[in-house]
């Protein structure tokens, strides 16, 4: 990299050469010569990063029209500018879409931001749809994202801390929190961990998450990534902090608990009884997604006694001519399901529909008719899949489906005992897990009765004039 001690010199040509060599003579580094008050100047910019119309209108035009003796910053029409004597700053600003104005005989450079505004408009996030509530979403531009938060939380104690991570990519990372409300302990841990990050590249929030989370072996995400500004804002108001990475529409919320992954903004926007009902349904869906195939296997391979007569005979008739043991049946169908899902995600939607029909209807029916898999197993796997897709955060649903595999294995070897012990291990793991020093299962373990009100169910919002945040 560039030696940070290099200062600019008094000769303009030398300066320009220095910048050009810092950029390894790249082709899109353009320069334009100007004459301002008889001093020759040079404007340097990276062609691909700047808006040329802005340069023409706001910089070149005023400079050329100016007849009086004055410094350039008084003439240009930019809202902000930086004057620097260091090469490193110059290069950094050029990379962020500024243009640099060198003047002969001046050892400083004027840096003017003229970044091109080629961005996605604010759209509703594709994978976090809601029925009722705000329909805007974060985009790839970090400033726009901070704007979306600021617009929701109009409070002077909303703090923004900015870091630059990745020695090659120089990605801008912002940490947002509300100073009056934030939980200091986890925030300090988070700050320490972000400061300790030392990598070459930082492309997305997912990469950052892996670097700073507590336990990267766990299947449970320890930071919540969301594209919804309303969600991020509501977590800020709960005293959590939000990390944004430039170039990713997903922001990271921490510290987070298990139950947050099963909440959506919909709960808060609908009637509280309905909201509570759906929260309970979602929690139930998690249990179902991880344990339903295992329970089925344990029942048909070990404890068929637990089935009452009617169901027992129905299942017995279905599985009569199935050559595979239920364990392999379940594993195979789970894998088929994952394949279908993977295939459908990447394809354009018209083809994805075909995959759905071929996969779901044709394979599903044919595999049963051919006698490879029983109808009951199809029902079980389909229910499991649906239950896992209920999770409002995609990571959690996929995690649940993966967790189902070891539990299926345990059920195949030890029946109910295996399931119970596997779930116990899972529960112990959850109890041990912490998100930035906060217990992952709060408020259930450790138990706070008050907290439960808002994690499992959603209670009525009270009109509280005494408490002010």
């Amino acid at each position: 990299m560039i030696n940070s001690t290099i200062k600019l010199s008094k000769t303009m040509e030398e300066n320009v050469e220095m910048v050009k060599s810092a950029f390894h003579e790249t082709a899109d580094l353009k320069d334009r010569s100007l004459l301002l008050n008889k001093t020759s100047c040079k404007l340097i910019y990276i062609d691909s990063l700047v808006d040329k119309k802005v340069i023409e209108r706001n910089i070149i035009e005023p400079l050329l029209e100016c007849k009086t003796e004055t410094v350039p910053e008084m003439i240009v029409k930019n809202a902000e500018y930086v004057r620097s004597t260091e090469l490193e700053v110059t290069v950094k600003n050029l990379l962020e879409g500024s243009c640099a104005l060198f003047a002969e005989g001046d050892n400083t450079v004027l840096l003017l931001p003229v970044a091109a505004g080629e961005e996605r408009a604010i759209q509703e996030p594709e994978n976090e749809h809601i029925i009722k509530g705000a329909h805007d979403g974060f985009s790839e531009n970090i400033n726009k994202n901070i704007f979306l938060i600021r617009r929701r939380v109009k409070n002077p104690s909303l703090q923004v801390k900015t870091f630059s991570l990745g020695s090659t990519t120089n990605t801008k990372v912002s940490l947002l929190y509300i100073d009056d409300l934030v939980d200091r302990g986890p925030l300090d841990v988070l700050l320490k961990r972000i400061e300790a990050v030392d990598v070459k590249e930082m492309q997305s929030s997912g990469e950052l998450e892996e670097l700073i989370e507590d336990n990267s072996y766990s299947l449970f995400p320890q930071m919540l990534s969301t594209e919804r500004p309303d969600r991020a804002a509501s977590y800020l108001l709960e005293g959590k902090s939000v990390v944004m990475v430039d170039g990713t529409p997903h922001v990271l919320v921490s510290p987070i608990t298990f139950f947050s992954f099963y909440q959506t903004p919909d709960d808060y926007n609908s009637r509280w009884i309905i909201g509570s009902f759906f929260r309970l349904i979602r929690m139930f869906s998690f249990l179902m997604a991880i344990s339903l195939p295992a329970i089925y296997i344990a029942v048909v391979s070990f404890h068929s006694e637990v089935l009452p007569l009617g169901i027992l005979y129905a299942i017995r008739v279905q599985i009569e001519y199935i050559p595979l043991p239920p364990f392999f049946e379940a594993i195979a169908m789970q894998l088929v399901l994952e394949l279908l899902k993977e295939a459908a995600i990447r394809l354009p939607s018209p083809i994805a529909q075909t995959i759905g029909i071929v996969g779901g209807l044709v394979i599903g029916t044919a595999v049963v008719e051919a006698g490879f898999v029983s109808n009951t197993m199809i029902v079980v796997i389909a229910l499991t899949a649906i239950a896992s897709f209920v999770a409002p955060v995609n990571h959690m649903g996929t995690g649940a489906r993966i967790m189902a595999f070891p539990i299926i294995l345990a059920a195949n070897f030890f029946g109910f005992l295996g399931i119970v012990l596997a779930l116990t291990v899972l529960l112990i793991h959850l109890c041990k897990l912490e998100s930035f020093g906060k217990p992952y299962l709060e408020p259930v373990a450790p138990l706070h009765i008050k907290g439960i009100k808002d994690s499992f169910i959603k209670t009525k919002k009270k009109n509280n004039s005494l408490k002010q945040s």
């Binding site: 048909v300 391979s301 070990f302 006694e305 027992l312 009569e320 006698g371 070897f413 029946g415």
Partner: protein
Amino acid sequence: MRKILFIFFSSFLMAGCWDQNQLKDTRLVNGISFDTAEEPDKILGTVRAINVRSAGGGKFEVQDEFYFSENETVGQLEMDLQNKVSGRMNAGKAFIIIVGEEMAKTKGINSLLEPIIRSTRGYISSRIIICEGKGNDILSLKQNESPIVFEVDNLLLGGAKESYIPTETTFTVWNKITDNSIDVILPFIKKDNQNNLRLAGSALFKSDKFTGKTLTIGQTALLLTLRGDNKSRTKVIIESAELSQALTLAIENSKIKTDVVKENGKVTCHIKADLQARILSYYDGESPMNIKHLNKLSSKELTRKVKELTKILVEANSDALGIAKELSTKYPESWNPETWKHEYQQVEFKPEVNVEILGTYNLH
């Protein structure tokens, strides 16, 4: 930690699964019967097992198979039958146990139930019934056709719903037999000439042996009412010379007070039953209905019926009303189970039934 996990998984993958018992490989037994065999001291055990056959195109046909064996104990029977049945025999859902008349009289049912109660797989909510003749004859009906056991089960279901027969399961029967303070009554079924099954009332037991005496459907219903075991409205028929046609009542509420008194070594049992009923059918061409009169008439008739019932119970030496239980808790100091066997014969029953007709439904 990871090393432990590795050992953990590899050891189990290598060792395999000991207890796997695939439902697919099991042959589900749905009915069992026990009878006396030709040879003395042997038991004739019969099972009906379900057999699934593919009918093509993903459709299946369910048929029943029939196996029997003669052996000395139930354990031996099971071993022998296992070798006859194709696939693993699983009696974990055998929901009907039929015991032949002779078997119940001579050997008793306790030794038959013991293996079911002991085993972890046994189905102790199964129903036990006593049949006229041999249980084998009933289980062998309609072979290769619809499972006969389901027919029996439906028969029992209907009977129990209307409180015509007692709702005893293997567990409750065993629990009561070991208790020795109340005797069980079990449903009694018959097969007629056309090979149709019917409920014929209940079989009276003394301890675990069938006494040979049976109660009719009506008497069983009355007994269940007196024990307070009636599930729904019990129907009773009142016949009297004063009525041109028998009167049918449905008992809606019953308040039974059994009072056992022991004086000078003599046990008297006062049964006071207050029944509230509605008229289900009544036809008399001449006189209009007089509720008060009918109350009196049916009280008298029912008291007579209860007397008749208790007489049968005493004759059969079956303490189906649980007098022993009352006595042992009321007079624990003078309670002696040994002498009770003789004392029961001397128990005097003093029933008193009061019927109050509440309503007559649509017609007056």
